[in-house]
Amino acid sequence: MTTGIIIIGVVAVLLISIIGMYNSLIRKRNEVDNAFGGMDVQLKKRYDLIPNLVATVKQYANHEKSLLEKITELRSKATSGKLSNDEKVALDNQISESFKGIMVAVENYPDLKASDNFINLQRTMNEVESQISAARRTYNAVITDYNNSIQVFPKNIIAGFMHLKRKEVFVIAEVERQNVNVNNLFNN
């Protein structure tokens, strides 16, 4: 009789802990999606700035047509709506580089640089850049937490059953520190 109770007790404890682990993994997976969603919102804000940027630069710097066309093209791709998460981030890295290229070109047009329109635009761009950076860092932190959860014992067993796979953290493009090769932007 007592052995029966003990067995039931052990099974109950096991069941409860399995349910607990399962729930925790679900939560972590949702956190990952949530974090990417947050990043996505910021990326979209960046895409939305592009038409304004192109219009402003065009007014003063018509010679930079190729740069502007390139970035408009990137925007179309980004807003086409059929990209995987990895593709979205890769595209955004390209857009970052494109932005930097335009900023370099703008140095040659002091009127443009001094215009209120452009100054406000620059502030907004910096703001969005800062927000994207924060969103990416949050995403990486959440991913790391998720990866840890699915790999430690004994959760890894449950994770195996749930087919949860390890996700890659996104390397934040150190665009600020790269020397943007403006010629590449023409050739791509």
């Binding site: 502030r123 910096n126 800062s130 927000q131 924060a134 969103a135 932190a141």
Partner: protein, 319 residues
């Protein structure tokens, strides 16, 4: 930032003589205090040995009146001495750092501004402090003062209510205009060593709001501070890798007893020093360079924070 070279210069040309002049006063006050104490003690001994109540009471009353008068007199002299110290010494140190700063020795930051910061779990109900400095460096305005916020604790026993005032903290308080728009609140608090199981508290509760622990990438920063915020993303938006480096530098300069909060449009900072600051000495000689240097270092908190954290870089949407 003014160099120690210039401070040394100020000390030798003006402050040393001023302090030396005040030395006499300091010794006089010290002697008066000792004399009063001795007088009180002798009075006590005399009273012990008189058995006629009439004479005892008379002597007692006269003695007490003399002591009270002495205490009042000492207090008045000390106040003059202290005011002189603030006007002639502390004020000059501030002027050396930046002549544009406004200094008021007897004012402190408003209590509601302290409570606004939400830096501690209790709200202040009363505030003491002094050495108020107000100013602006380029686009960043700031306020600074020594502060000792307190709160009331009432205990009822057998129908009697006793009120005690407890200190929330004692030290410096500073706040400045932050260079980004902030929606929620982010706290950067000293790292708590109360990790029983190697686990940090996951949440911080303030004012019925819940703040999540935020784990950041800079290991040196994480050793010094614990971060709690209303949003994981906003905490990282504020605490960029550059800002984290800056805060590590600040902690190295001012120690690990620093509390920060980012709220509204401002950055708030409290530094714990559980002793009075910017006060003239009574017990030991007041003429020494180390004291002057310490005050200079404490006021330096203003420029250190504003420059290290690049609060004047206004390239985002906030101007």
């Amino acid at each position: 930032m003014r160099s120690t070279e210039q401070l040394r210069n100020l000390y030798h040309t003006e402050l040393k003589d001023q302090l030396a002049g005040m030395e006499k006063e300091r010794i006089r006050i010290k002697r008066l205090k000792i004399a009063t104490a001795i007088f009180g003690f002798i009075l006590f001994l005399i009273l012990q040995n008189i058995y006629k109540p009439g004479i005892a009471i008379t002597i007692g009353i006269i003695g007490v009146i003399i002591i009270l008068a002495a205490v009042v007199y000492i207090f008045m002299r000390y106040t003059t001495y202290r005011n002189q110290f603030k006007q002639e010494v502390v004020s000059k140190i501030i002027k050396l750092i930046n002549p544009e700063y406004q200094y008021d020795a007897n004012r402190h930051i408003d209590m509601h501004e302290f409570n606004e910061s939400n830096l501690f779990s209790t709200k202040a109900e009363r505030c003491q402090g002094d050495d108020y400095v107000e100013g602006k460096i380029e686009s960043t305005d700031f306020k600074f003062s020594e502060l000792n916020p307190t709160y009331k604790v009432e205990t009822r026993e057998d129908g009697k209510t006793t009120t005690e005032w407890h200190s929330i903290y004692r030290g410096l308080f500073f706040h400045a205009d932050f260079n980004k728009h902030i929606q929620g609140t982010t706290f950067v608090l000293p790292d708590k060593a109360d990790r029983l199981l190697g686990i940090k508290r996951k949440n911080l509760k303030r004012d019925k709001e819940n703040y999540e622990l935020v784990n950041l990438e800079n290991p040196e920063f994480e050793k010094i501070y614990d971060v709690y915020g209303s949003s994981q993303v906003e905490a990282r938006y504020i605490l960029t890798p550059a800002i984290m480096e800056a805060m590590v530098t600040i902690a190295k300069k001012y120690g690990r007893n620093m509390y920060f909060s980012f709220k509204g449009e401002r950055l708030y900072c409290a530094v714990l020093y559980n002793k009075p600051l910017f006060e003239p000495r009574i017990k030991k000689s007041g003429v020494n360079y180390a004291d002057v240097e310490e005050m200079f270092h404490l006021f330096g908190l203003i420029e250190t924070i504003i420059h290290e954290m690049n609060l004047n870089t206004r390239i985002w949407t906030k101007e």
